[in-house]
């Protein structure tokens, strides 16, 4: 139920839940959270605020709408809300956690669970593995991942109760996951660019959770995230985390399988539900050739291709130099003893010459990106020091993160080039189509084009970020219209047009087609008339198509901005009439009717024809006035001639009268 076209009622989320800002619950999913109650029930729920600059997970929220999943704090509702004393924000409502988190987070009125006890194998399998695997299976069936499985997001009502998976819906996938709980190919990405991933990443996180609970502590707790990634790449995840630990019984084999480096080799959730299978599961043998001598890349020492790929991605300038000098392929051939891989890297290096026609820097970036993909097919896309997964582009744009590299990635269709290098790990054709689609979207110019539009397109629940709506939240077109109507209450706002690049981008991404031509034509350099007419045309179309109610304040705002439009009409009386009509229609909030007034083609034609007629008449008047001004001598001569004729005529008349009188005696 995203968005609402009515002004936000205080504290009410999606019209169903009322959050209480006086009862905060700290730290859920890394965001502010509050106790909420249903409007018609006394039951308590949890309302989690989506942090500013982050878009909620639209796909997951849509897939899980009204579908409660046992063992999971699934979203019940979501929408913008204005809690008393707080700024408007987007909230996701979930069931209340059944108790403490496994790391002992507190909830008001509930007792603490000792956070540091080590769990038995039986308890882990019965209370953690099976319930979480069951929830993951249901999530997978809906095409959704969780991506926030960690001890502080697992809740337990009592020590002998199965755990419940916490919420993971108000922030980008895995954006709050510590490096320990994510595979290295995810942990090395930017937090916002980790992407939805697959259920295999959830299995990996669950495997790490099992280790942590079995040990009663977090291994590598003192290590920096970057050091954890390097360690996992160098040793393999299981060895990096648990090689020096003693895990109970059969758990070691199970967890080793869950932490397999290749996500395709990890067990599926359904397989984990069978305890026999779960206990007997063994990880496939993983052999990675290790070089006797490392290749030093900046501060990194790489013994394995995967470590080398990571080192190149982290230090792109050094990596590019090594690649272009042939140091990498020589090391692969001579030290690692992998001529096939060396040849693949050499081909990538040779290909750079072709790419150089479009710029040296871009060719270097492409070289590095391809080399990383060839060296480690599991690695994320690496571009100019940024690593991310393609479906993480949306959240990265929402955060305003790395806009310049992203623009280059879109423009160069880097996604397609990356997919082509990954040796069948990614459906290349699908990513190529996606790359072309994103490029086409970003290339459309005009107001609101480019990355802004793409950001809204890739983040369906991202609120419009126009300063024209202030702090209001608008994730749908009706909500935007309502927010603008609210903003128009401030007279200062009406000095500027109710349309800026953010609003145009938002409309382009959210509204059905038909408005693109108008908005694309609108640019900062557009003529004054266009700038006045296009907003009215667009908002009128949106009001009609979304069946939004009256928008009187927005109407007045648009009427104020329509002055240049009225000025384009030539007949003053018509302008005055139109002004009166516009004012009256603005008061009614009927934007479509306002548009009809200023955009009446037949009236416009009559106005133009009237102007021509007036100009013709004016020219005639000027000619006649000129003739009058210069006609004095002519009139004098005419008066003289006529006067003389009159005098002669009078004399003749008198003579005739006399003769007649004489004739008749």
């Amino acid at each position: 139920m995203p968005g609402s076209d009515a002004p936000l009622p205080e504290g009410l989320i999606a019209g169903l839940y009322k959050a209480d800002p006086a009862r905060p619950v700290s730290g859920f999913d890394g965001a502010s959270a509050f106790v909420a109650r249903g409007v018609d029930a006394a039951e308590e729920f949890l309302a989690i605020e989506s942090p500013a600059g982050m878009a909620p997970r639209a796909l997951a929220l849509k897939a899980l709408a009204n579908q409660p999943i046992p063992g999971l704090m699934a979203p019940l509702a979501h929408g913008p809300a204005k809690l008393p004393g707080r700024r408007p924000a987007y909230y996701v409502v979930t069931p209340s956690p059944p108790g403490q988190s496994l790391l002992g987070r507190s909830l008001p009125g509930r007792s603490l669970v000792p956070p540091s006890r080590a769990w038995s194998e039986a308890a882990l399998l019965a209370l953690v593995l099976r319930p979480v695997a069951a929830a993951l299976e249901r999530l997978a069936a809906r095409g959704v991942t969780h991506r926030a499985i960690r001890p502080d997001n697992l809740f337990q009502a009592a020590p002998d109760e199965p755990v419940v998976l916490g919420p993971a819906w108000s922030t980008p996938p895995a954006s709050r996951q510590p490096a320990l709980y994510e595979p290295p190919y995810v942990a090395q990405c930017r937090a916002s660019g980790r992407g939805e991933g697959g259920i295999a990443e959830d299995i990996y996180a669950l495997g790490v959770v099992l280790i942590v609970l079995a040990l009663g502590r977090e291994p590598l707790a003192d290590e920096e995230p970057e050091a954890i990634v390097r360690r996992k790449l160098a040793l393999g995840s299981f060895a990096a985390i648990a090689a020096e630990e003693r895990l109970p019984g059969e758990l070691s084999g199970l967890v080793r399988a869950m932490l397999a480096e290749d996500p395709g080799q990890r067990p599926l959730p359904a397989e984990l539900l069978d305890p026999v299978f779960a206990r007997g599961r063994r990880a496939p043998h993983q052999f990675a050739r290790r070089a006797p001598e490392p290749l030093v890349v900046g501060a990194h020492e790489a013994f394995l291709p995967r470590s080398l790929a990571h080192a190149l991605a982290e230090t792109p300038q050094v990596g590019i130099r090594l690649l272009r000098l042939g140091v990498v392929d020589r090391w692969l051939r001579r030290s690692l003893g992998d001529p096939a891989l060396a040849q693949a890297v050499e081909q990538v290096t040779q290909r750079r010459a072709r790419d150089a026609t479009e710029g040296e820097e871009r060719a270097d970036a492409l070289l590095l990106m391809r080399a990383v993909a060839v060296l480690d097919p599991l690695a994320p896309l690496a571009w100019r020091g940024i690593s991310f997964w393609p479906d993480g582009l949306g959240p990265m744009l929402a955060e305003g993160d790395a806009a310049s590299p992203i623009a280059e990635i879109i423009e160069t269709e880097v996604l397609a080039a990356w997919a082509a290098c990954r040796a069948g790990r990614e459906p290349s054709a699908a990513l190529s189509m996606e790359a072309r689609r994103l490029r086409a979207l970003a290339q459309r110019g005009g107001l609101g084009g480019g990355l802004k539009r793409l950001g809204y397109f890739l983040n369906p629940l991202m609120s419009c970020r126009s300063p024209l709506i202030g702090e209001q939240i608008a994730v749908t077109i009706p909500a935007l219209l309502t927010a603008l109507d609210g903003s128009a209450a401030e007279p200062d706002r009406r000095r500027d047009p109710p349309m800026d690049a953010e609003i145009a981008a938002f409309i382009l991404a959210r509204a059905p087609g038909g408005l693109e031509a108008d908005l694309t034509r609108l640019a900062p350099s557009s003529e004054v008339l266009e700038k006045a007419l296009v907003p009215l045309r667009v908002f009128a179309a949106l009001q009609v198509s979304t069946r939004a109610g009256p928008l009187p304040r927005l109407g007045r705002w648009l009427a104020t901005q329509a002055e240049p439009l009225l000025g384009s009409w030539k007949e003053r009386s018509r302008r005055k009439t139109m002004q009166e009509q516009l004012s009256a229609l603005a008061e009614r909030g009927d934007l479509a009717a306002m548009l009809k007034v200023v955009e009446d083609p037949s009236a416009r034609a009559r106005d133009a024809e009237g102007l021509k007629e007036a100009e013709r008449t004016l020219r005639g008047i000027d000619d006649e006035l000129a003739r009058i001004a210069s006609g004095a001598p002519l009139r004098a001569e005419k008066a003289r001639q006529l006067g003389q004729e009159i005098a002669a005529g009078a004399g003749l008349a008198a003579l005739s009268l006399t003769l007649v009188m004489m004739a008749f005696g």
Binding site: A626, R640, I646, G651, T658
Partner: protein, 169 residues
């Protein structure tokens, strides 16, 4: 076309200008015949139409409009006395008697003066009237112009209009 203008026209054709033809001899002949045959009416006519005849000499305008008006007016007042003397035999004595009557001579001459006055005043009144009509028309046009300019936001008043306003006649 006046004689002078005819001469100019001839010049413009490159031919030698013909000298203006004079009919004074014919007028003199007619006067002589009249004085011989009907001396009384001729004398009376000459005196009664003296202002008109004098104006014929003085009026140098083409067509002699002033003289024409004076003569026609004087003739209207002279018809009755001349008819009376013609009916009575037309002697010089009767003509002198009639000329001795100041009413006859005064009426004829005053009527001639009236013809002169009309010929002078009619053009003047007509010009005043025509200028007035032109000014009124110019005022109506300026008002219409102002209305059009204001109604359609056209350009400021043209120079022609300003000139017309400054000097409508």
């Amino acid at each position: 076309m006046s004689r002078q203008s005819a001469a100019v026209a001839s010049d413009s054709l490159g031919k030698p200008a013909a000298p203006p033809r004079s009919y004074a001899w014919l007028q003199g002949l007619l006067c002589g015949v009249a004085a011989t045959l009907v001396p009384g009416p001729a004398l009376l006519t000459a005196f009664l139409l003296a202002p008109g005849l004098l104006s014929l000499l003085l009026d140098q305008k083409p067509g002699k409009p002033m003289a024409r008006a004076v003569l026609l007016a004087g003739l209207a007042a002279s018809v009755h006395p001349i008819g009376s003397i013609w009916a009575g035999g037309g002697g010089i004595g009767a003509a002198l008697d009639m000329l001795g009557n100041p009413a006859v001579l005064g009426v004829a001459w005053l009527t001639g003066a009236g013809g002169w006055l009309v010929s002078e005043l009619a053009p003047l009144f007509l010009r005043v009237g025509m200028d007035g009509a032109a000014a009124a028309r110019a005022a109506r046009l300026r008002a219409e112009r102002t209305r059009l300019v204001e109604a359609w936001d056209l350009e400021p008043r043209a120079e022609a209009d300003q000139a017309g306003e400054a000097n409508p006649s």
